[in-house]
Amino acid sequence: LQKCDLHRLEEGPSTTAVMTREEGLHYYKTMQTIRRMELKSDQLYKQKIIRGFCHLYDGQEACCVGLEVAIKPTDHVITAYRAHGFTYARGVPVREILAELTGRKGGCVKGKGGSMHMYTKNFYGGNGIVGAQVPLGAGIALACKYFGKNEICLTLYGDGAANQGQIFETYNMAALWKLPCIFICENNRYGMGTSVERAAASTDYYKRGDFIPGLRVDGMDVLCVREAAKFAAEYCRAGKGPILMELQTYRYHGHSMSDPGISYRTREEIQEVRSKSDPITLLKDRMVNNNLASIEELKEIDVAVRKEIEEAAQFATTDPEPPLEELGNHIYFNEPPFEVRGPNQWIRYKSVS
């Protein structure tokens, strides 16, 4: 495995890793599912079945898969809006993710959130405002410490968000109170259309925590991410306080579906990453070269994944939209339901929650 750059750490994660056949097949299937799901979302968006904003995660699959397998389901994760991969990794079935994207009631959030706001147990979304999720993550970590169940919180943000003021406020609080929080910067080199060199005075995002130790990890290698995450999780659970991880990764699509993704970077660059560092290809080569699986087996997994995605897309397209009464629900917690004020006295939505 590639050695990680370290900041304020004596030693880093191990440079070798053990992966069993089952593990390998699981990682492969998960990453391939996420990849195909994102490509399907791209297709559905272009057909205008998905509307609104859609930020795709393909190219970065190794990050969410590597992180998920290094932590426990009882640990907590919060990220920004490029959340489909994490939503799947945290256990939401593809059909619910796609149905949420199309805004149907079978979606994981009943169709009320859309692409950017997907949630599930121990996964706090899905946040639209850049950088706003980081203080929340520290808060979750504080709750973990308070409840004493040895849980940690993974707080993710991007290279663009790394320049937000609230992130530094959070670093300070997390370090001061030794919160079990792993700050993870998914550096995909571009904050929307601005490359990291044009946005940040220091592109060493793993050092930005200053007094918080950090490590820089190859985010295209799922095993590298896994080992680093295990190392970081151990560090946090030992009560040593927060730690920062920078995952160097890449996204193939533009920032969102309205961004072609080529006005600020060349097609050659995208092609190069695809051919040399694609996370799924890297894993496939590793498995085949180490005789953990044959190409035919992996192809079979591909076919099964495609089928699952097709069915999910079918569900997402045919499921009915949420009923209009949902418009008023879940504003407050209130007993009994109250009426939502609006423009006419004859159409009043009751808010039930």
């Binding site: 805004g103 950017m116 706001h117 949420p322 808010s351």
Partner: protein, 278 residues
Amino acid sequence: GKDRVFNTPLCEQGIVGFGIGVAVAGATAIAEIQFADYIFPAFDQIVNEAAKYRYRSGDLFNCGNLTIRAPWGCVGHGALYHSQSPEAFFAHCPGIKVVIPRSPLQAKGLLLSCIEDKNPCIFFEPKILYRAAVEQVPVEPYNIPLSQAEVLQTGSDVTLVAWGTQVHVIKEVAAMAQEKLGVSCEVIDLRTILPWDTETVCKAMVKTGRLLISHEAPLTGGFASEISSTVQEECFLNLEAPISRVCGYDTPFPHIFEPFYIPDKWKCYDALRNMINY
């Protein structure tokens, strides 16, 4: 050139803070916030620093050279964080000016006025009109005065007030009212939210006696409440019917429910009809 127009890192509070600093030192600053929904980290800077600078320094310093621009309003698929209309939050803050144009021609004149105005201004641009509006705009600079509402159409029965995208909706409603009910409407584009043109609106009220105000922002605490309150103070005896506010529901801006949420022409027409029949 690159030294005058440049991208910033992603930090709204920092961007507006810079802008205030630049303006105080004497240079003209035009700060752009990508979507009005993201202006909230900068809210403290705007309300506590920019708006109060002149007042608290006894006119020694001011950041009048600052103009903040932000895309505003619903766009059909914006959902919670790309559709908000936060003018009401800023209307509550003495010291700044809030301006919202309804068309390209208005936008150019109003923006140039904001830039030249010696007070910090927030210029909200209806994003749905970026691609939808087509107009002949003069190439040379021109100003449209701030704090002056524009009467788009005179009438004698009902006054309709709106700003930004909603002006186009109420224009349609006025046409519908004329055609179906024979009701003649006075259509007013408020243009500047703060300080707003009370005189034009009240003059219209004295003539018509009925007022309908419409905006996308939620009903409770929306700017329509300020207009309504002032009008009933100034023109109480002229009122023929309660003032009608056709606004968004008191919920966060929905994703899939957007067509039901926005105050479309039918809701406005319905409210107008009820006022006529009061």
